[in-house]
C-alpha cells in the first residue's frame, strides 16, 4: 500500500508581533491594570505568549465611566449613518488584517489555523459588515419608529471563539448606539486586544469600546457595576446562573448564551456520507469547544452499525496536532482545566459502562491534547449523555421511531441547537417543529451567519444574537 504523507505545512507566525506585556484598553488608550498580571499560554506548546493586565474594580469603574461619557457625548448623539461608517471601517480592517488575527487566535486558543482562517475571522468581519448596515435602519428593526439604545453594555465572552464572540457582542451593541465594556476570557485575551488596536486604527471615538482583561473577578465587576445598563454573557450555565442572580432586581437587561447538549438526529433515509461529515463537523469542529456542538448522536437503530463504522473510518482520517499546520483538523484543548474536565467525564462514561473508541495515532508530547472520542452504547441515563463535556467527545444513542427521536432529543436541561439528517423534507419539518432548541440545522451542522439569530431554550440561556431579532437585545422600543 502506498502512503501519501502530507509534509508539514505550517502557517508562518511572523505576521504576528507578540508583546511581553499587554494593557487594558480604556477610553481609547492602553493602560496598566491594578491587579497582578496573568500569563497567557499557547495551549499547543505551553509557551507563554505574554503577560496580560488584570482589571480591578477600580479599572472596571474607569472603563464604565469612559463608556458612559462616550455614550452621552459622542456615540449616542452621532448620526446613525456615521456610526455605520465606523463599523464598516472596522469590518474592512478585520479583513485586511485577517491573517494576523487568524494566526494570533490559533496561538492563543489552540484551534486549527484552517478554522481561524476560514471561519472565525471571516465570520467576525461579516458580523461587523452586517450590523454596519443596520446602524441607520433601526426603525425597521420591528421595535417602533425610533428605537433607542440602552446605554452602556457590559459584555463577558468565552475562550472558544474569542474574536468571533467579541464580534457577536460588540457589533450589534455599537450599531444600535450603545457603548461597551468587554471582558475577554482569561485564557484567550490577545485577539480582543488586537481588536482594540483596530478600534484605534479606525479612529473610533475613545470610550466607545473598552476592553478590560482579567479572570472571574474582573468579569463580576463588569456585570455588577451599577452604571451598566445591559449585561450580555456567553459562557457556562453555572456562571450564567450566578450572573442572573446578581442582575436580578436591578434595572439591567440581560441576555445569556450558555451551554448545550445538542442532539444530531440521523434517520435511516439520511444521505449517509454527508451525515457522517455533519456528525464529525458537529462534534470535532473547534475540538468540540462549541456550545452548540452536536455532542449527542441520535441514530436510527436500523442504520446504527453502518453509521458508526463509517464514522470511525472518517474519524481515522482526522489529523490531530500542530494547530498552525494548514492540514490540521483538530487542535489543542484550550486549557489544562478544560482537559481535566474532559478526562473526568470520559472516565465517568467508561465507569458507567459505555463503550469508548478512539482512533490510532500519537498526540504531541507537550501541550493539552485529547483524541477524538466516540462512546457507543450510551443511554439517556448516562452522565455523558446529560452533561456538557465541551470537548471532542461524542455520545451515540439510538432510537426506533421519530417520536422516540424527538423525546430523546428534548430530554436535556439544555436547548441550544439540534440537527436532523433525512432526505425527506416533510419529516425534517415535522421533527424540527417539535425540537425545543434555538437553532435546528437540517442536513448540515454548525453553520453560522450574521443574518441568522442564535440562542437557546431552557438552561441554554435567553435572548438571541444575530439577525434582526438579535438587535432587540440592544434596543428599547420608542
Amino acid at each position: 500500500m502506498t502512503v501519501f504523507e502530507y509534509a508539514p505545512a505550517p502557517e508562518s507566525r511572523s505576521i504576528v508581533t507578540l508583546r511581553s506585556h499587554y494593557g487594558l484598553f480604556v477610553d481609547g488608550e492602553f493602560t496598566d491594570g491594578g491587579g497582578t498580571p496573568l500569563k497567557t499560554v499557547n495551549p499547543a506548546t505551553e509557551e507563554v505568549l505574554g503577560e496580560v493586565a488584570v482589571g480591578t474594580d477600580a479599572d472596571v469603574d474607569r472603563a464604565v465611566r469612559a463608556a458612559r461619557k462616550a455614550f452621552t457625548r459622542v456615540w449616542g448623539p452621532m448620526r446613525p449613518a456615521d456610526r455605520g461608517k465606523y463599523l464598516f471601517r472596522i469590518a474592512r480592517l478585520l479583513q485586511e488584517r485577517a491573517r494576523e488575527f487568524a494566526v494570533l487566535e490559533t496561538l492563543d486558543n489552540g484551534k486549527p489555523i484552517t478554522e481561524s482562517r476560514d471561519v472565525d475571522v471571516p465570520l467576525a468581519a461579516a458580523h461587523f459588515f452586517y450590523h454596519a448596515g443596520w446602524a441607520d435602519k433601526l426603525e425597521h428593526a420591528g421595535l417602533g419608529p425610533a428605537p433607542r439604545p440602552l446605554g452602556v453594555a457590559g459584555q463577558v465572552i468565552p475562550w472558544n471563539f474569542p474574536l468571533l464572540m467579541l464580534a457577536w457582542k460588540v457589533a450589534p451593541a455599537l450599531a444600535a448606539g450603545n457603548t461597551v465594556v468587554l471582558k475577554p476570557a482569561e485564557t484567550t485575551p490577545l485577539t480582543a486586544l488586537l481588536f482594540a488596536e483596530v478600534c484605534q486604527q479606525a479612529d473610533l471615538p475613545p470610550g466607545v469600546v473598552n476592553i478590560v482583561t482579567g479572570a472571574g473577578d474582573t468579569g463580576r465587576a463588569v456585570v455588577e457595576h451599577a452604571d451598566v445598563d445591559k449585561v450580555a454573557f456567553t459562557g457556562s450555565t453555572e456562571v450564567g446562573k450566578q450572573i442572573a442572580r446578581s442582575v436580578a432586581g436591578t434595572r439591567k437587561s440581560l441576555t445569556l448564551e450558555l451551554g448545550g447538549k445538542a442532539a444530531n438526529i440521523v434517520f435511516d433515509d439520511a444521505p449517509i456520507d454527508q451525515a457522517v461529515e455533519g456528525v464529525v463537523r458537529g462534534i470535532f469542529f473547534n475540538q468540540g469547544h462549541v456550545c452548540c456542538a452536536g455532542s449527542r448522536l441520535l441514530v436510527q437503530e436500523s442504520v446504527h452499525d453502518e453509521l458508526v463504522a463509517s464514522l470511525q473510518r472518517r474519524i481515522g482520517t482526522l489529523r490531530v496536532g500542530d494547530p498552525l499546520d494548514k492540514n490540521t483538523d483538530v487542535g489543542a484543548i484550550n486549557s489544562p482545566e478544560q482537559l481535566a474536565r474532559i478526562r473526568e467525564l470520559v472516565g465517568i462514561g467508561e465507569a458507567e459502562g459505555a463503550q469508548v473508541w478512539q482512533p490510532d495515532g500519537e498526540l504531541p508530547e507537550r501541550g493539552n491534547w485529547f483524541k477524538p472520542t466516540v462512546f457507543t452504547d450510551v443511554t439517556p441515563a448516562h452522565r455523558i449523555a446529560r452533561d456538557e463535556v465541551f470537548g471532542p467527545v461524542l455520545s451515540v444513542l439510538t432510537f426506533r421511531t421519530p417520536d422516540e427521536a424527538v423525546a430523546k432529543a428534548n430530554n436535556t436541561t439544555y436547548g441550544l441547537s439540534a440537527g436532523i439528517w433525512s432526505e425527506k423534507g416533510s419529516r425534517i419539518l415535522a421533527v424540527a417543529d417539535q425540537l425545543r432548541a434555538g437553532v435546528v440545522w437540517a442536513n448540515t451542522f454548525n453553520q453560522f451567519d450574521p443574518t441568522s439569530p442564535f440562542g437557546g431554550y431552557k438552561q441554554s440561556g435567553y435572548g438571541r444574537e444575530g439577525g434582526r431579532t438579535g438587535l432587540r437585545a440592544y434596543l428599547k422600543e420608542s
Binding site: 501519501f4 456520507d273 452499525d305 442536513n443
Partner: protein, 329 residues
C-alpha cells in the same frame, strides 16, 4: 438498506469469499430500480462542501514531489480528435514513454488513449514499455448506435490491440429509467472485451445529479466494469471534484460489500497540478490509500501532463521554465 461497510472498519469484517450480496438485484427491471433507488441519497450541498474542504489541504515539498510523480504515473495520455493520425499517435506514445526528455527519473504514464482504429498504431509504438493502450469504443462519445454496432466497435478495438476499452453508457436509457438495458449492455461489452479491461464512462455531465452518479456507478460496477470513469471529455461539465467524491465513495462501498475493487478515472477538465493533487488527497481520505495506484486510479487528460512536468521541473530547479521545456505532440 444498501449502504455498506468498509471491511477494515472495526466491528464489521466481511469474510473473504462471502456470497455476492447483490447477485439477484438484476433479476427484473423492478428489482433493479428498487435497488438503485434504495442507495442512500447524496446531499448536493454537503457533497460539494466536503469536496471543497478536501481541496484546501496544503501539499508541499516532499509530499508535492511524491504527488506529482504519482499523478504522472496515473495519466491516460489522450488524443481523441477527428484529425488524429498515426503520426500524432506515435508522437504521443513517445511522450508517454519519456514524458520529460531531459530527465530520465520522470515516471512514464499509465496508458495512451485513442480512437479504436488507431489502437494498433499505439500498441506498436508502446511495445515493451508496459504502457497500456486504451481505446474508446461503443459509438463514443454519444453512444447512439445499435448494440451490434457498439459491440463490433469494441471487438475491432480489441483485435486492433487495445488492452483497455473505454465505453460509454446509454445515458438516454439511464435517464428514462431503463436501468436493466444499460446494465445488459455493459455486461455484453465486458464480454466482448475478453481480457481487455473495461472502463465505463458515465458521462456525469449529462446525468446532472449526484444521486444519478451514485446509481450509475453501482450499475456499472455490478455489470462488471473494471473502472468507472466520469466523462468523455466532450461534454461540459466533465470531471468535477464532487462527482469524483461520489464515485470514490461508490467504489469504497462496493469493495466493502463484494470484496471486488473497482478503479476510478476522472476525465476532462483536469488541467493543472493543483487539480490533480486535490484528486489524490480525495482518494487518500475518501476511498483510502489502496486506490493511490495507477492500477486503480487514472487521470484522463492531455494538457495535464504538461503542467505536471512544469511543476516537477520547478520543484527540482527552484524556478519555472516555460512551455518550450515540455515537448509538444
Amino acid at each position: 438498506m444498501t449502504h455498506v461497510l468498509d471491511p477494515t472498519a472495526p466491528g464489521r469484517p466481511v469474510a473473504p469469499g462471502a456470497p455476492d450480496a447483490f447477485a439477484d438485484v438484476t433479476r427484473s427491471d423492478a428489482a433493479f430500480r428498487a435497488f438503485l433507488h434504495g442507495l442512500p441519497g447524496v446531499d448536493q450541498v454537503g457533497a460539494e462542501a466536503r469536496a471543497a474542504q478536501l481541496g484546501t489541504r496544503s501539499i508541499k515539498t516532499t509530499a508535492k514531489a511524491w504527488a506529482i510523480d504519482t499523478a504522472i504515473s496515473m495519466v491516460d495520455l489522450t488524443t481523441l480528435e477527428g484529425a488524429d493520425t498515426p503520426g500524432r499517435v506515435r508522437s504521443l506514445a513517445a511522450k508517454a514513454r519519456r514524458p520529460d526528455p531531459a530527465d530520465g527519473s520522470c515516471p512514464q504514464v499509465a496508458a495512451v488513449c485513442v480512437y479504436g482504429d488507431l489502437a494498433g498504431v499505439a500498441r506498436d509504438a508502446l511495445a515493451g514499455t508496459g504502457i497500456h493502450t486504451a481505446a474508446v469504443a461503443t459509438a463514443f462519445p454519444s453512444g447512439r448506435a445499435s448494440r451490434e454496432v457498439k459491440l463490433a466497435d469494441v471487438r475491432d478495438a480489441v483485435a486492433g490491440g487495445a488492452d483497455e476499452i473505454d465505453m460509454v453508457i446509454d445515458r438516454g436509457a439511464f435517464l428514462s429509467g431503463r436501468y436493466l438495458d444499460v446494465f445488459d449492455e455493459v455486461v455484453a461489452v465486458k464480454e466482448a472485451c475478453g481480457d481487455a479491461h473495461l472502463k465505463v464512462i458515465l458521462e456525469t455531465g449529462e446525468l446532472r445529479t449526484y444521486d444519478a452518479v451514485r446509481r450509475a456507478s453501482w450499475l456499472a460496477m455490478l455489470a462488471g466494469g473494471d473502472f468507472i470513469k466520469t466523462s468523455t471529455g466532450k461534454v461540459s461539465p466533465a470531471a468535477t471534484l464532487p462527482v469524483c467524491l461520489v464515485m470514490l465513495e461508490a467504489v469504497r462501498d462496493f469493495r466493502a460489500a463484494t470484496g471486488t475493487q473497482v478503479g476510478v478515472k476522472p476525465a476532462g477538465g483536469i488541467r493543472t497540478t493543483k487539480d490533480a493533487i486535490k484528486h489524490l488527497v480525495m482518494i487518500n481520505e475518501v476511498a483510502g490509500p489502496d486506490w493511490l495506484d495507477p492500477v486503480w486510479f487514472r487521470f484522463g487528460a492531455s494538457s495535464l501532463l504538461d503542467d505536471l512536468l512544469l511543476q516537477r521541473q520547478k520543484l527540482r530547479t527552484g524556478h519555472y521554465s516555460g512551455p518550450d521545456h515540455v515537448s509538444v505532440v
